[in-house]
Amino acid sequence: MLLSALLASVEHGLNRVLRLDSTALPRLAALDGKVIAVDCRNPALQLFILPSDDGLMLASHWLNEADCTLRAPASSLLQLALSQDKTAVLHSPQVELEGDSGVLLDLVKVLQDLELDWEYELSRWLGPVATQLIAGHLRSRASWTRQGVASFNQNLSEYLAEEARTLVGKREAEARFSELDELKIDIERLEARIERLARSLNSSDNA
């Protein structure tokens, strides 16, 4: 019952977020009637996801057979929930997929492509004028912060690599790595040559 209550709350929150993207629910409608079982190992927990044009339904029990079963440890599932590149997580060795994996991949794609229209939600509460003012202000602040962070990163890396010489610069490091690679290949060639010589010496001794 506790798990049901938790799932009901998560489902409610998730569906509110999904409704913020006008394309998410029509895309989920294509998966209507499909059942995805999520089998969490360590800790053992099973839940079922049922997509529909109304959002996602999360269930702790489901009698019908699942179209796709995802088996993974909790850490991988958490990574799947938080990661930007969810498809890469699905292909990791700890994750097992059984059944029609297309269903899960489609669902993951819908979640990955979410573009939430926060302004619309805000305008429902504050009205269009106030939302426009707040959103404009927030956008300019966000853009200023992004530029500031990028400029700080660039200055810091330049200082550490070029002026303080504490770290090796990116291009310098790449040049060294490529020299090391060449050296490694040369050594391997030399090793092969020595081996060939040794083999020819052995065969002449035997003769």
Binding site: M1, S4, A5, A8, D32, G33, L50, S52, D53, D54, M57, A59, S60, H61, W62, L63, N64
Partner: protein, 256 residues
């Protein structure tokens, strides 16, 4: 559990809460209660159960095994909580029938579902659970949530539900039951005989209806008795799940 208590020369009687009334009057008295509470039924459910009724119904849906294309009958469907979910699950190729004996409840349920955009695969039928107006072997799943205790002849209703189910079809009975924990039972008694009528008085100005609700819960068969009644009616593989320490139980039976 037999509802019929025949006097020597009088009309058979049945319980209406803690009172005994002639059988012919029970349906009218129950109807009066639900006509009175229909408008604020959802609000009262949330207030009195602390929102728990949503979780109980959710569990019933999880165990229903309903899938796309199924035909579902939601008896005593009231304001349509289960019908709404079933409508999504069965999809455009399935069908959900919301049946209720009470016209006021059915009207509230129909308006609510239409307002929520639930239409197309839902039908509304005013019907008596004891004499369901549907063909034999018609539904994949029949549910009755918080309705069976108001039915005058429960055995007849169960047999009627069995008749309309397809072989292999499921009946789910969600109903108040007997708490399994003594302490919980005492707290629950205090809650239902003091708090429920008070809230009924405050919100719907109708303490009597909520006193009936509390009394009818006590008169309803407990988990094992209802299970035996379902087996007697002809259901197979009857099981029940207690929820919230047995305050509510979900019984499930399969038509052989």
């Amino acid at each position: 559990m037999n509802d019929q208590r025949k006097g020597s020369d009088a009309e058979p009687t049945t319980h209406f809460g803690f009172k005994n009334v002639p059988e012919s009057q029970k349906a009218d008295k129950v109807a009066e209660v639900f006509h009175s509470v229909a408008a604020k039924y959802d609000l009262m459910n949330d207030v009195l159960s602390g929102g728990m009724h949503r979780l109980w119904k959710r569990f019933a849906i999880e165990l229903s095994g309903v899938r796309a294309g199924n035909r579902v009958l939601d008896i005593a469907g009231g304001t349509g909580d289960l019908t709404r979910k079933f409508s999504h699950l069965v999809g455009p190729t399935g069908q959900v029938v919301l049946a209720d004996i009470n016209a006021s409840m059915l009207k509230v349920g129909r308006d609510r579902l239409l307002d929520l955009g639930v239409a197309g695969n839902v039908e509304f039928v005013q019907a008596d659970a004891e004499k369901l107006p549907f063909p034999d072997n018609h539904f994949d799943c029949v549910t009755i949530a918080f309705g069976l205790r108001n039915v005058t002849h429960k055995e007849d209703a169960l047999r009627s539900m069995l008749r309309v189910l397809k072989p292999g079809g499921r009946l789910l009975v969600l109903e108040f039951s007997k708490p399994t924990n003594t302490l919980m039972s005492k707290a629950y008694d205090a809650y239902s005989f003091a708090f429920m009528p008070l809230m009924g008085k405050l919100i719907t100005n109708d303490a009597e209806s909520y006193r009936y609700l509390a009394e009818s819960i006590r008169m309803h068969p407990d988990q094992e008795t209802l299970k035996a009644m379902m087996v007697d009616a002809g259901f197979d593989r009857v099981t029940y799940h207690n929820m919230t320490s047995g305050i509510v139980a979900l019984h499930r039976g399969i038509k052989p």
